[in-house]
């Protein structure tokens, strides 16, 4: 392990547990606690990936899960973030996005073509000739992307959990720890979350050569761990902010949705790179990355390195590196004035030369372009961003640590609606106006000094505590006056380019300039044209520099350029996490088990499970044969369908009748007890939304049915209108509480009569009549209906008794030739009867006049929902009508389908088929279609265009269709 240094205080690795894994065919040793990247780097392996576009070799950049230089695959999973993913013993890893391995990637030639592949190249080049686009699209799609999706990835249902707290603190650095402790001390329940494996933030790596800050960290963490009010979640990030302080915490095992009463955002800052030629070579990394390697994983980032900095942090990095034996060749400070004397002197005392007002003009790669050989250092003009190449010097090195400033990790703040302002004091966006219940602390709030950050955490906690109704003193935060933390323009122009701004997408400075020249000079347009910030890093290391470049191009202040929208999830989140274990409820009728055991082909009908048809055990019926046989049983003998899915609502109270009159289109106030009427519901626009049957059980009690899919909607509308109209009505939704079955067919009366004490004879129980009594010994509600057959009985019983009654009817019906029938046969049977289905034969615009339902509308009533619209509609000419139709006898051509269009002689679309089916009983194809009104009268002929374009002639006819039988063909 060539770069592993001696055991360090606070290191995150367990040297007692060595691990071995394979990377690109090479065996590598690491320790438990190592990340893949740290273990590789410790072994001197520095080519961890290839860039997205130009396939340039890449090593560690941020080493903080904020960049995508090091993405791996283990053969099963892909895009594994090696910087943070723990090493697993015996794993086999390869870099993604290579052809032939990371070292000998066959696509690396693309780098040589880069002058011909500027941003926008694809948009401009491959769209013509048009016929060639599919060819190029195929090529580009294959070339694009990072890891390959494994379609055989095991399905792991990751739970999506909920958690609750008074205060959610995002970020467990100094300010976050301090905030959590202060809130918990007031008895508040705190959840403290951090994306790193251990809490501490920069307290665990940024020491400037003096590790005494570790004591502060240890004492904070000990206090947090000892506090039962604090739940510390590490290795998980807050992926977004949603209304009412809902924050999804994304961990390795899944997502926890935290509902907090307040949120303290102490998310810190992302270090920003200076931009110079070849700033992407393996060995060139951020200063904080170098510090993390040293202090968390005891790995030297390089042996002989250069620090290039545009703030004081580079000096701190230099001191950390030199403390573990790295030879720091020089500190190159892009600022003319350099660092404060005290800090600068500390560095010089270590024998490190400091070059103020200088820059790295370019890093010089080794011959194989897999590492760095030396740097070219030049005097730097901060105003023009130009290097004076006439005074260049070359310095040998094997690595560069770079620091140019910081960008706030403010995605959550933006999503919460925070107004940010650009502070020229620190050259950083900071919160100006925070939304209610959201607080910011620490570096994201522009506070960098450690003591001040601890204070700021307590200050934010105090504000959160007070927001929750307590009254505690809010501590003032004292900040020492220091130099700004970020450089306003850490860019070094270079005529040959390759000075990368966005490492995800290989975007160089010139790409921005070209984009602006082409008119994409707004930050949102520039983002989309150049794709800056659109890679997996989501601009964490590029957006700030992009904004600075655009501001300079347009000669605008930074705050005028603004920033792009930060949408959740701000960090890439596995699709499997988002999918998680889903809850998709189904409803089961009381007779479900019987259906399954008797060959029912169960299907989802909305939320319900229903039998579409039955294939009895031992039979080899096709679906079509089963449906025709079931329909035949209803026409010739008796059939029974499980109708439990019907909506069933009881309407009680002295105003029940008046309520239904206002709610439905028909009249109910004068309805007799024991009778039923069709109840059609419109919306305010006069559109048909539901139809059912309203039974009057008593003077002040109705029992109303709705379509299966509409029960909840109708019930909700009823509840709403009871309130609006201030009526004395009580509603009970019995949809699930009652099982229902319809016994239909010529023998249905015989069957029902055999099991009930109700007189079901024709005179005693005419069509539409309703009676209560016993069926199979159970209290039942029985209704004469005619939806699927002229003679049918709908029987409603309590849910728990449904199976008992169903079985009794089935058993008794055997001698009568009973067949259960499913929803497919039901659709055919109602079609034969000429009954349309709302929402199937009608659409979101159909009014009753278009669907032959005028008889159900009592326009002379003072009011009903939709009446006002119908009055307007009634004055206008209809342009379509729903009609029943039949295809010619003996039809054997291509069958039209539902939604095939009705076409007139001028080839105009005039309607469409809404239902069509073959009826064996009639030996004809019958259906419903919307046609022009003049074609809706019986005998009118119209044309239907099939999928293949064939024109089929149909004839409008009256319903029900049974006259076709009587006339033997018209």
């Amino acid at each position: 392990m060539t770069h592993r240094i001696a055991k360090k205080r606070g290191e995150w690795i367990n040297r007692d547990k060595p691990l071995t894994f394979e990377y690109e065919g090479q065996m590598v040793q690491g320790y438990e606690g190592d990340t893949i990247s740290s273990a590789l780097w410790a072994n001197g392996i520095k080519v961890l990936g290839r860039s997205f576009k130009y396939h340039r070799a890449r090593g560690i950049l941020s080493f903080a899960n904020h960049d995508v230089n090091a993405l791996m695959t283990d053969g099963e999973d892909t895009n594994i973030r090696a910087d943070v993913w723990p090493v697993a013993d015996n794993s086999k890893l390869q870099a993604v996005n290579t052809k032939g391995g990371v070292y000998k990637d066959k696509n690396k030639f693309i780098d040589h073509l880069s002058p011909f592949l500027p941003v926008g190249f694809y948009y401009k080049t491959f769209y013509k000739p048009k016929k060639m686009f599919p060819f190029w699209e195929n090529k580009i799609r294959k070339a694009a992307g990072l890891g390959m999706v494994n379609f055989n990835y095991p399905r792991i249902t990751k739970p999506k959990l909920h958690a609750f707290c008074d205060v959610l603190v995002v970020g467990a650095g100094a300010s976050g720890l301090s905030a959590a402790l202060a809130a918990a001390a007031e008895g508040l329940k705190v959840i403290l979350v951090d994306e790193n494996r251990h809490a501490g933030g920069s307290l665990s790596y940024d020491y400037a050569g003096d590790q005494s800050a570790t004591d502060t960290l240890n004492s904070l963490i000990s206090a947090v761990e000892a506090d039962s009010n604090i739940r510390l979640i590490t290795d998980a990030y807050a992926g977004g902010y949603y209304s009412d302080h809902l924050v999804p915490i994304v961990g390795k095992g899944g997502i926890t949705k935290v509902r907090a009463k307040t949120v303290i955002v102490a998310t810190g800052v992302f270090e920003q790179p200076p931009v110079f030629r070849y700033n992407d070579l393996p060995g060139v990394m951020l200063g904080s990355a170098a510090q993390r390697l040293v202090h968390r994983y005891a790995v030297k980032p390089f042996e002989k390195g250069i620090i290039v900095t545009a703030n004081d942090h580079g000096y701190r990095t230099a001191l950390d590196l030199v403390s573990v034996g790295v030879e720091v060749v020089a500190v190159i400070d892009m600022r003319r004035d350099g660092a404060p004397q005290e800090l600068s002197q500390k560095v010089k005392d270590k024998g490190i030369p400091v070059h103020k007002g200088s820059c790295i003009y370019e890093a010089v790669p080794a011959k194989d372009k897999l590492s760095i050989r030396e740097v070219v250092v030049c005097p730097y003009d901060e105003t023009t961003a130009e290097a004076d190449t006439g005074l260049s010097v070359r310095l040998k090195c094997d690595g560069i640590a770079m620091s140019a400033g910081w960008a706030p990790a403010a995605a959550l703040l933006y999503q919460a609606g925070t107004k940010m302002v650009y502070s020229y004091d620190i050259e950083q966006f900071v919160p100006e106006i925070l939304p209610e219940g959201v607080f910011a602390a620490g570096k994201v709030n522009g506070i960098f000094n450690l003591k001040s950050r601890l204070q700021d955490g307590r200050r934010a906690a105090a504000e959160a505590i007070n927001y929750l109704g307590k009254a505690v003193e809010v501590e003032a935060v004292v900040q020492p006056a220091i130099a700004r933390h970020s450089h306003p323009y850490p860019i070094v122009n270079h005529p040959k380019g390759k000075n990368f701004v966005d490492f995800d997408e290989d975007i160089q400075v010139k790409d921005f300039i070209n984009a602006a020249k082409e008119g994409f000079d707004n930050i949102e347009l520039m983002k989309r044209f150049t794709t800056v910030g659109m890679g997996p890093s989501q601009g964490k290391h590029s957006n700030m520099n992009a904004i600075r470049i655009l501001a300079r191009i347009r000669q605008l202040p930074v705050e005028k350029v603004g920033s792009t929208t930060a949408r959740p999830f701000f960090h890439p989140t596995p699709i499997g996490h988002l999918g998680g274990r889903g809850f998709h409820p189904h409803r089961y009728t009381a007779m479900h088990q019987w259906h399954v055991e008797n060959g029912g082909e169960m299907m989802e009908a909305g939320i319900w499970m229903r039998p579409a048809y039955y294939v009895p055990v031992g039979s080899r019926l096709t679906a079509s044969e089963a449906v025709q046989q079931e329909s035949g049983a209803v026409r010739e003998k008796v059939g029974m369908i499980d109708g439990s899915t019907l909506g069933k609502i009881e309407v009680f109270g002295p105003d029940a009748g008046i309520f239904l009159e206002r709610f439905y289109t028909g009249k109910f106030a004068d309805q007799k007890v024991g009778g039923s009427r069709i109840a059609m519901l419109l919306d305010e626009a006069g559109v048909m939304v539901d139809d059912g049957v309203a039974v009057r059980m008593a003077q002040d009690q109705f029992y109303v049915s709705t379509n299966s899919s509409n029960a909840a909607t109708v019930y909700r509308e009823m509840q709403r209108n009871v309130q609006l109209w201030k009526m004395q009505v009580t509603l009970v939704n019995l949809t699930g509480a009652m099982a229902a079955m319809t016994v239909a067919g010529p023998s249905s009366r015989t069957l029902v009569a055999a099991l009930t004490d109700i007189d079901v004879s024709a005179p005693a129980m005419p069509d539409g009549a309703f009676r209560t009594g016993k069926v199979a010994g159970i209290d039942a509600r029985v209704m004469r209906v005619s939806f699927v057959a002229d003679l049918a009985f709908e029987i409603h019983v309590p849910y728990q008794t449904g199976l008992h009654v169903w079985k009794a009817l089935m058993e008794k019906g055997q001698s009568l030739g009973i067949r259960p029938f499913g929803t497919d046969a039901q659709r055919l049977l109602r079609l034969e009867m000429g009954h349309h289905l709302i929402s199937h034969d009608t659409d979101g615009l159909t009014n009753p006049f278009e669907a032959h339902s005028e008889s159900l509308v009592a326009m002379d009533k003072p009011f009903f929902i939709g009446q006002r619209s119908l009055k307007i509609i009634a004055k206008k000419q209809l342009n379509k009508k729903l009609t029943t139709f039949v295809l010619d006898k003996g039809f054997n051509s291509e069958l039209p389908k539902e939604c095939n269009l009705v076409i007139d002689s001028a080839n105009n679309i005039t309607g469409r088929v809404t239902s069509i089916s073959y009826s064996r009983h009639l030996d004809r194809y019958i259906g419903f279609a919307f046609v022009p009104p003049e074609q809706s009268t019986a005998g009118a002929r119209f044309q239907i265009r099939t999928d293949s374009g064939a024109m089929i002639t149909a004839t409008a006819c009256k319903a029900p269709f049974f006259h076709l039988l009587e006339n033997r063909g018209e």
């Binding site: 189904h586 089961y588 319900w608």
Partner: protein, 222 residues
């Protein structure tokens, strides 16, 4: 034994586990799913028991509270709360004017009320076909953190409070009780959702080392 007239809404979902069946209140119910020790362990870790067979009586209407009071019932003072009657029956107030009474095995108030002709005059019987469950165990918090988006662990169910919420996508009523000295959650939902909810909750419970518990574990047959 004569076939039961009533079937638990959850019956077919339980069938695959081959429970020992028996009739409770005329309903075929799962009396046990295995040895007493296994059920005790399930109950201790994370267990679910189908108690849909307990008799229930629903009452709704502007005079519902008055009628119940006249009938000698102790009323929950506010909506979304419950009170245990001296007889052992559980009376839940689902709204200002809506109540649900559930008998224990030893009494038959609900059945008695159900057999009365009551409709009219501001009170209306509500036909109930609930799927009813007892959920117990030390890992209930982990279960609810996955299936429920509200904080049931934060005193929300204390002081005889009742919560109507969504459990695994299903509207449900939930309270916290003590049964046989064990704190348990009681859950009621529309019976048609019962099989789904049973399967869903049980699936998660088994991941936590829990499992099904039969009716006999909580209620002793006379």
């Amino acid at each position: 034994m004569q076939d039961a007239v009533l079937t638990s809404p959850v019956a077919f979902a339980q069938k695959v586990r081959k429970p020992v069946l028996g009739q409770i209140n005329g309903m075929q119910a799962a009396l046990s799913f295995g040895g007493v020790n296994v059920e005790a362990q399930n109950s201790r870790i994370l267990g679910i028991c189908d108690v849909s067979c307990l008799d229930r009586f629903g009452l709704k209407g502007p005079k519902a509270a008055e009628w119940l009071q006249t009938s000698g019932m102790k009323l929950p003072a506010t909506a979304n709360s419950w009170v245990l009657q001296d007889s052992g029956s559980l009376l839940m107030r689902l709204g200002n004017t809506e109540f649900l009474l559930e008998d224990s095995l030893e009494n038959d108030l609900a059945r008695m009320f159900s057999n009365k002709a009551l409709d009219g005059g501001g009170i209306h019987k509500v036909i109930r076909s609930d799927a009813a469950f007892i959920v117990s165990g030390e890992r209930t918090a982990a279960l609810f953190s996955e299936v429920c988006a509200i904080d049931l662990d934060n005193g929300m169910l204390g002081d005889n409070r009742l919560v109507m919420t969504v459990i695994a996508g299903v509207s449900a009523t939930i309270i916290k009780q003590t049964l046989k000295g064990q704190p348990v959650y009681r859950i009621w939902c529309d019976g048609t959702f019962g099989p789904y909810l049973w399967k869903t909750l049980l699936g998660i419970m088994e991941e936590h080392g829990g499992g099904p518990v039969g009716f006999n574990f909580y209620y002793t047959l006379n």
